[in-house]
Symmetry: C2
Amino acid sequence: MAKRLTQQDIARMAGVSQATVSLVLNNRTDSGVRIADETRARVLEVIRRTGYVANPIARRLHDQRNRILGVFTYEAVFPSTRADFYQPFLEGIEEQAEEVGCDLLLFTSAKATEGKRRIFSDDSRIRLADGCVLLGRSIDRDDLAQLVAEAIPFVSIGRRDDAGGPVPHVGADYVSAVRNLVDRAVALGHREFAYVGAGTGAESSADRLRGFKQAVAAHGVQGTHVSFAGLDQLLGAGVTCVLAEEVSDGAALVLAARERGLSVPGDLSVLSLGAATRPAPDDVVLTGFRIPRREMGRRAVQALTEVLEHGTTPRELLACEFVEGTTLG
Amino acid sequence: MAKRLTQQDIARMAGVSQATVSLVLNNRTDSGVRIADETRARVLEVIRRTGYVANPIARRLHDQRNRILGVFTYEAVFPSTRADFYQPFLEGIEEQAEEVGCDLLLFTSAKATEGKRRIFSDDSRIRLADGCVLLGRSIDRDDLAQLVAEAIPFVSIGRRDDAGGPVPHVGADYVSAVRNLVDRAVALGHREFAYVGAGTGAESSADRLRGFKQAVAAHGVQGTHVSFAGLDQLLGAGVTCVLAEEVSDGAALVLAARERGLSVPGDLSVLSLGAATRPAPDDVVLTGFRIPRREMGRRAVQALTEVLEHGTTPRELLACEFVEGTTLG
DNA sequence: TCAAGATGCTAATTCGAATTATTACTGGGT
DNA sequence: ACCCAGTAATAATTCGAATTAGCATCTTGA
């Protein structure tokens, strides 16, 4: 197997030094650098003849950037059961990475313990990349703290509370989005609300519930929070508008109501808050909002670029777009 | 911005030389290399504390290994319009990469010319990875030739003809798969066949058509090939069994026939040959075969490992599983 | 004719990690 | 005292390209 040509080889063939080849190759004409046209032509001719291309590895060694952005997820991203969740984010990430000319590194080597990958292990490869985008429904707080402590350039997709320091992130503005939904419902006459879902644990859950509480307080209407509720319970409490954190929970409520001969939204309004932990039936178009997943992916990579270039700590929440469904009236 | 740690930094912190850090890191214990347990522990402690990992670029410059496997596609893999095609392959690739402890590098930096990425450009980053899996419906022959010529370790997913040398690949055995389908149809009494689809261009198309021709010849039955055919044309020619390269073409034929009051498979049998260039309706379950995409992804990474370890040129075709649909009778 | 300035190129160094050759030290045996 | 063996670590070099400082050589002008 013929060894790859080096600049040294080209230099020998052209009867010049390696430095000259490099200068010609990079077409350097700054002050202080001069190559006679005749020499330049001779070198270029040898390069043309041999088809020489610079070894990108050696070239990169000189800069301090590898132009590799990492994408960390706690689980494999391609299995179809998970692809639905990850794919829109990754679409945005890929798009923006392409734009800034970086390659994406998927940390598939992170050995999984009990099905979950770990960012830090005895031989963590997280630093292979220039920086890293964190992607997942929830992210281990200890991992976050260590990332911050070790000053590893990263951006989380999804808002994260401080962890021994502010956590750079690009999230969705659930507080405003949920508030807006309640505003709309109130404008339509609703006075009895219920929030169904965890409302705690992950920041995204807490933010939604916070928006809910702010809105009911501002309007002076009734609002209760239950982590899970059957239809009877809700109707018994006089609730006319349900906000379901999980899309599938909302869809289930709609189906249950209709099965019972109730009208949605006639007798009960159901709003979706966008979380899609489980697959949901797609024949029920819930009113609610759309999480700008692709845009979040894009912005995360942009933010990471800023982190890398200026050492900043960007934190940003993107607006969720209202989705006009058929379940609010 | 915090500069990346180097072995020199670690060495300073541990009060040893850079060489010692390297030796400890690589756990070298060959004859002639000795590090006191106490020193080794001290260095490891610093490494643990700082989370240091070797710069993959520098490492790759010196030896040949990163534990990074590249995945090259001519287009973005995550947009939903393409995800259906790529995802099953990538699922297998990710799975196997995880198994062998390698990270995956997606070459998103390859600048696209006219919508298509190029493997080789003025600053191709293909060599960042130890080796590379090529994924796509078709692959540029010049690119293949250059990969072979430059002895870059790679494996193509999908069989490829020689390109200035044998091309390592993991493909699907379309020849046998199509032959088997024809065998079944003949056994059921069919004597007039038609192959609908390109049957040329990509190797996968050519292989399918080859299998078809072999089978009709072996059975001494009628078999025609048309790149595209309306229902009338097929029926007029007396065809009783159609093999459609494209799933969506097959589905369209079934729908057209039924719309006309014909029975499928009563009056016409339609077989799918698995190609899914376009999305197909999922309410028609065509008889045909399943391309083992995930398995191909897995095997491709295994094959790449073999290329890297033994410099072999693995070429392998995986069997396609028969799918018992409702359109053959 | 010789200092000043321009011109054309190269030697040497750098990047980060791996490797080889070499040095420094200790203790035991004679 | 001296040699040898064993141990522990380091200096120096390598990979391929980029960059900077600097060395020749050649013009000019006074």
